[in-house]
């Protein structure tokens, strides 16, 4: 079941021995159930911090996160997160990393394997199931992390630049793949990306964030029809939207 996700007046400041870093200020938005929102913004503006707050991993100084109207008090199974770096366990093989969420849920080993097999093909890691993360490239590791989040089907999926370490071709292919999965399952997704085109191609909404402290500069709806194919990138509407996003980032 998809669920709506809201952020209400979230502010957060990091306190370190070196000083305080204001990371988020009064961030408020709602992503309706089954919608895909993309977050873009300059490096260091607080995108990862926002995702950690949404996942319940970081308690903000002020504000709250609501999942279907109920406050999120801490990390939980309904909200899945794919971290900016792959975050795999180096002592587990690709297969073991992939099936970790199922193992924690007590799913028996054969069922875990069966569910993993389909995903491994999807992310193009056939033949690497018994490799260790140390033997993978950065992009391959990221694809494992992506599959690990897809395997247990949380209601809300938070993706922190899941395609960051990939080449343009793989990135495009996985983007299309993600879109296909998402259009079939309609989960609620918040995805951070550095690419304006990717944000517009995938998202129902694009949230543009500004720097120091991170705040919402612009919230843009993307009225492009679905299902979308890569051709949409060349449409005039797409060009206009992307000019708007660029203007918001540079403002």
């Amino acid at each position: 079941m998809p669920a709506s996700l809201s952020a209400e007046h979230i502010s957060h400041t990091f306190r370190t021995p070196a000083g305080t870093v204001p990371a988020l200020r009064d961030v408020t938005f709602t992503v309706e159930a089954g919608r895909l929102a993309c977050v873009v913004g300059p490096s260091g503006c607080g995108k990862s911090t926002l995702l950690r707050v949404l996942a319940g991993l970081l308690k903000p100084d002020a504000g709250r996160v609501l999942l279907n109207g109920a406050p999120v008090e801490g990390p939980n199974h309904q909200i899945g997160i794919v971290f900016q770096k792959a975050n795999l366990m180096p002592w587990r093989t690709v297969m073991q990393n992939l099936t970790l969420p199922l193992e924690l849920d007590g799913v028996p080993a054969e069922k875990r394997r069966a569910r993993a097999e389909a995903l491994i093909d999807l992310v193009g890691l056939g033949g690497f199931t018994d490799a260790y993360p140390g033997e993978l490239s950065g992009g391959m590791a990221q694809r494992v992390a992506m599959a690990r989040a897809l395997i247990y089907a949380p209601e809300v999926l938070l993706l922190d630049e899941p395609f960051g370490a990939l080449d343009a071709m793989t990135r495009e292919r996985l983007g299309v793949e993600l879109l296909r999965i998402w259009e079939a399952e309609r989960r609620t997704v918040v995805m951070v990306t550095h690419s304006i085109a990717e944000a517009l191609f995938l998202g129902d909404h694009v949230m543009v964030m500004g720097q120091r402290p991170g705040h919402i500069v612009r919230w843009l709806d993307v009225p492009l029809p679905r299902p979308r194919s890569l051709d949409v990138i060349h449409s005039p509407a797409f060009g206009q939207l992307s000019a708007q996003v660029r203007a918001a980032i540079e403002a």
């Binding site: 199974h77 997160i81 971290f83 975050n87 366990m89 002592w91 924690l104 140390g134």
Partner: protein, 308 residues
Amino acid sequence: MTAIGRRCLAAPCRLWVYSPAPSVFGNRAGFLLMAEQTIVRQFVRADATPHAGRDRLRWARWAVSPLLAVALLLAWHAVTASGAVKPFIIPPPAAVFDALGAALANGSLLYHAQVTLGEVLIGLALGLTTAVSLGYLLAKAPLVERLLAPYIVGLQAVPIVAIAPLFIIWFGSGAPSKVITCALIVFFPMLINTVVGVRQVEPDLRDLMASLDATRWQTFRLLEVPAAMPVLLGGLKVSATLSVIGAVVGEFVGASAGLGFLINLARSTYDTPLVFVAVFTLTIMALSLYGLVDWLEKRLLSWQQRRS
């Protein structure tokens, strides 16, 4: 240098890293602990040499070490045969072999070795269990750590030889006093390595486990234990070799059995060959324990060796 040589060098080096830190657990020591980890990592890396190098290394292990032993034996024989030193200072190798044969034949060597090994194993079990449990607690509870750290470091600062007589007074001259000296000597390196190992678990992996709703037990079993394992095994290597020293120190101070007792006994009758036999037996014991941990490490950390 062979892999064993490299590791032997590193063991005292790691100890050196610990000892001068006045607040081993404090922030200031953070750097030292980091240095420690790097050393541990370097070791593990050093083992993962490419195939050609590894083959050469294996050749060296099988051929050079025995050759070196034979050379030493010959040199030893030459020195004693020349008459430059008196036999009760350095007995000729043949005399030592005779003493070995005799001690094996009358069963005394096996008996004393067995007593010492028993003390070592029980002492290790006791020391390691307390060190790992307390270390885990300290790693998880900084407040407890701040309260206990001065006492633990203080305990480590007391020379074991100085308090061993106290244990004889308290626990008698039987096995328990030796078990305690042994447990005490293996305690500290294992404690530090447990604290370091558990502390260095990646916060991001903790976040991952939290976001997957892992229970405390699951996080312990599937994250903390495997993540800390390389550092834990590093501590275990130091502890395993120290454990024999612990038991022998206890036996020296007062005992009626064990290899330490045998050395004392042989010394009092100027039976130098028997002293040599006992010392060699102790060395072999320590080497075997070390080898056991090494084997365990190879099995448990196979994922590190596959990294190219």
